[in-house]
């Protein structure tokens, strides 16, 4: 429920149906996907446990931060500064208004930080205030300031450190009281503490915004996780088993081999060991693939060796056969020569005889 005035009429889809203003901290119901301001729907649920739009049963557990897109759409709507009626003409995105009020807005209420003053005024009056009141004070010492207060007709003085907890209230002027005031000695600490507090407050706002963003991211992740789980089917294990599985995975090489085997049987041996997770399975598969590759390699080398051996043996055998053949051929040759010699001798003798007869 915001108090902002929007520069342009916001899109009707960004209007909370309860407060009729653009969503503040938009919250969506998981059961029926309707969006409201967080504060509005919480108030509505405290009156009746039904969705205001469709009257379906609804509990606070069904609420989740709206889609980040919706969040951005309403956070980026242009709004007028809340001090517009006083005269501030600043307009900016809704999400930057707190920063504007804190650091810039001339009409925002600020507290004078000069020790012990604590007066609140508009920022544009601060400078003047400091110059007029505190610079004078410095010149005339704090006694005068005390006198001024006396002039106001105050009978009982309160300590300048009243805001931080000094309970003193009495006839002593601040200047007299301050000498004994335990808070006076802590003055510097208090000042630095106040600035630190302011810084922390600012950081807190930013952090809260970031937490909102993160929360919605977690929601998205959770939804995606659920989808992944349903997609994985039997492969998914409850997260409580995960640490066990990791222990088993890092137990040592011996159990790793078992895991590698188990990997092939996601239902049977996985359940038997009670530790098989998808990660383990993949690890096992990878290892067994590596093992197989090594096996194939070894087999290849072995068969290569066998082939070489066989070739050598065959070569030798061939050589010996060739030798035997050669021997046989020689033997044959010898025999042929012998026979030829006999025959040639006869022929030669006759030829010779013929020529002799011719001659």
């Amino acid at each position: 429920m915001s108090l902002y005035n929007y520069v342009y009429t916001p899109n009707s889809n960004l209007i909370c149906c309860i407060c009729r203003a653009p969503f503040t901290d938009p919250t969506t119901t998981r059961t029926c996907a309707h969006t409201f301001c967080r504060e509005c729907i919480l108030r509505s649920l405290s009156h009746s446990p039904l969705c205001p739009v469709d009257r379906s049963p609804l509990t606070t557990a069904d609420l989740s931060p709206a889609n980040p897109i919706v969040r951005s759409l309403v956070d980026e709507l242009l709004v007028e500064c809340i001090h517009q009626p006083e005269g501030c003409e600043h307009t900016c995105q809704r999400q930057t208004i707190p920063l504007h009020l804190k650091d810039e807005c001339e009409y925002a209420e600020v507290v004078c930080m000069v020790a012990g003053c604590r007066e609140t005024m508009r920022r544009k009056a601060l400078q003047e205030h400091v110059e007029k009141v505190h610079d004078k004070e410095d010149e005339a010492e704090q006694v005068e300031a005390a006198d001024e207060e006396e002039g106001d007709g105050a009978e009982a003085y309160s300590c300048p450190h009243e805001k931080v907890g000094c309970p003193y209230k009495g006839p002593l002027k601040p200047s007299e009281h301050l000498t004994s005031c335990p808070y006076e000695s802590l003055k510097d600490f208090i000042t630095s503490n106040t600035t630190k507090m302011a810084l922390l407050t600012e950081q807190n706002v930013m952090l809260r915004h970031r937490v909102d963003v993160l929360e919605s991211t977690v929601q998205i992740m959770r939804r995606e996780m659920a989808q992944v789980k349903s997609a994985l089917g039997p492969w998914s294990r409850s997260s409580s088993e995960l640490p066990l599985a990791l222990q088993a995975a890092s137990a040592g090489p011996s159990s790793r081999e078992e895991d590698a085997l188990a990997a092939y049987f996601p239902e049977g041996s996985g359940a038997r060991q009670g530790t098989g997770t998808l990660e383990d399975t993949i690890l096992g598969l990878r290892e067994s693939v590596v093992g197989l590759a090594a096996g194939v390699d070894q087999m290849g080398r072995r068969s290569e060796m066998a082939l070489a051996n066989e070739t050598l043996r065959l070569g030798e055998e061939m050589m010996s056969i060739r030798g035997q053949m050669h021997g046989l051929r020689m033997q044959m040759h010898g025999m042929m020569m012998e026979r030829n010699g006999v025959e040639y001798g006869r022929v030669g003798n006759t030829g010779l005889g013929g020529s002799i007869t011719k001659l």
Partner: protein, 146 residues
């Protein structure tokens, strides 16, 4: 709610539903003077019915309180002008608005429901002799709602 109220009122006044007008009191923005025209085709046609509407502190978490000021012969509206309408009681939802409530009341004039009566005698009349009952409704409209 600080914004919901003036915003809703603004729209109600600037863009009124046909046959319905609602104006907030100057001194109390939660109190509205409402005039609903009787829907055509019903025994309440041409009547201008005055109602008062009050937004309780918890609005819109709690329903507005609405009452007929003009006398009307209707089975779901009693002598005191109280209205028997589920969205004004247990079926209220913070998503409903003044405008939707008044439109529902206008629709109730078109479609009396004697089975869930508030004015039992009128409901009996409507159940036993609808024609005659409608005649009485029309008479009352002409007599009181002009």
């Amino acid at each position: 709610m600080q914004t919901a109220l003036p915003k809703e009122t603004e729209r109600l006044v600037a863009d009124p539903a046909p046959g319905i007008s609602a104006l907030p009191h100057d001194d109390n923005l939660r109190y509205f003077d409402v005039i609903i025209e009787g829907p055509g085709g019903s025994p309440f046609a041409n009547g201008k019915f005055k109602l008062e509407l009050f937004l309780p502190e918890e609005y819109p978490m709690a329903p507005p309180k609405v009452r007929f000021l003009t006398k009307i012969y209707h089975p779901n509206i009693d002598k005191l002008g109280r209205i028997c309408l589920d969205i004004l009681k247990d079926k209220w939802s913070p998503a409903l608005q003044i405008r939707t409530v008044l439109l529902s009341i206008q629709a109730l004039l078109s479609a009396p429901n004697p089975d869930d009566p508030l004015a039992t005698d009128v409901a009996k009349h409507y159940k036993e002799d609808e024609k005659d009952a409608q005649r009485v409704s029309q008479e009352w409209t002409q007599k009181y709602a002009v």
